[in-house]
């Protein structure tokens, strides 16, 4: 095997699948050998760092006295927070929306009532006017003619009335 190890071959090696041919090449090629050794060392260091990191975060043992049998079980706080957030969202958006719709309906009802009251009032005025006529409607032009002032400013009078 003359050519250097490919990236895929190095990955296979790191996963524990080095072939005899790859191993033979690495024995002869210092560059490839150094690459594999360096990556293997980095991955070992990474594992050691992960173990140390975990221990530094208190992950060596379960909390004292903790038992799964006595645990309350599903306690992922994110879900509790999600439920609380959903409740707040409902209160802050749905309730004002409901109130707004209710107020709009009330305003529309009040406007309808005012319009009906105005129509009733006009109708009553027309009825009052009809009732208060002194003469029947066809004779009204004649009455108006009689009530017109003469040249001296007095209303015209019937000769019989003098």
């Amino acid at each position: 095997m003359k050519a250097h190890l490919t990236g895929r071959q190095v990955d296979s090696w790191l996963c524990g699948d080095a072939t005899a041919e790859m191993e033979a090449h690495a024995r002869e090629c210092a560059e490839c050998r150094e690459q594999v050794q360096r990556l293997s060392a980095t991955l070992r260091d990474f594992r050691a760092a992960a173990v140390e990191f975990s221990e530094s975060q208190g992950g060596e043992a379960a909390p004292a006295g903790w038992s799964p049998a006595e645990s309350r079980g599903f306690r992922i706080p994110s879900l509790r927070w999600a439920a609380a957030a959903a409740a707040v969202l409902v209160l802050t958006t749905a309730v004002p929306l409901y109130r707004s719709a209710q107020e709009r309906r009330q305003a529309e009802a009040a406007a309808e009532a005012a319009k009906a009251a105005r129509a009733d009032s006009l109708l009553l005025q027309e009825v009052d006017y009809e009732i208060s006529r002194a003469v029947p409607a066809p004779m009204e032009p004649l009455v108006a003619l009689m009530a017109r002032p003469n040249r001296r400013g007095n209303p015209q009078r019937s000769q019989q009335g003098n």
Partner: protein, 183 residues
């Protein structure tokens, strides 16, 4: 010991569940912590993992090692937690712990300069694993932190062995390219 006896022995390990917790807590916590990088979340998810295992212990038939079974539960919980975290609009990535800043490396190098280079490479692995796609990260951590073989990873993740290998190679390629390895 025949296959039936192996299964029965494994299943029998759960009879003493306190021992199971003692024996496997550190490993489950470590996997969850390096996946989520949040110590509080890791403690909560680890507790939940053992609670779920306790509740479903009657269904464990010993087809896998107890550790693999527990890590399978942990893998699912980590995935659920990470997804829920992405949906939280107030959550900030800066809340994560960054172990890369204090990456420990073995003191095998001849010089301080060489140790600094080693430290940088480990930090690069931490950073790369943080941004790997979820399945690649899970497979990578199970292989190189928990030192599981491909079949165990397949059992813990529910993936086919070939799929595990594909994800592992992609993760390794990313790590190799970002930690000074060959291209």
């Amino acid at each position: 010991m025949d296959a039936a006896e192996v299964l029965a022995t494994r299943a029998g390990e759960l009879d003493d569940f306190d021992s199971v917790v003692r024996e496997h807590w550190a490993r489950v916590f470590r996997f969850v912590l390096v996946s989520l990088r949040d110590a509080d979340a890791a403690a909560t998810v680890t507790q939940d993992c053992f609670v779920r295992a306790w509740r479903s212990r009657d269904r464990f038939r010993g087809e896998a090692l107890v550790s693999t079974w527990l890590l399978r539960i942990a893998v699912n919980l980590v995935r659920d937690h990470a997804r829920a975290r992405r949906l939280r609009f107030w959550w900030r990535a800066s809340q994560l712990v960054d172990p890369a800043d204090a990456a420990w490396v073995a003191d095998r190098s001849a010089s301080a300069e060489a140790r600094a280079i080693d430290r940088e490479r480990v930090a690069a692995v931490w950073k790369t694993t943080r941004w790997l796609p979820e399945r690649q990260r899970t497979v990578f951590l199970l292989r190189f932190v928990e030192e599981m073989d491909l079949l165990e990873i397949a059992a813990a993740t529910g993936m086919a062995e070939g799929t595990v290998k594909t994800h592992l190679f992609r993760a390794l390629q990313a790590v190799r390219e970002r930690s000074g390895g060959m291209q």
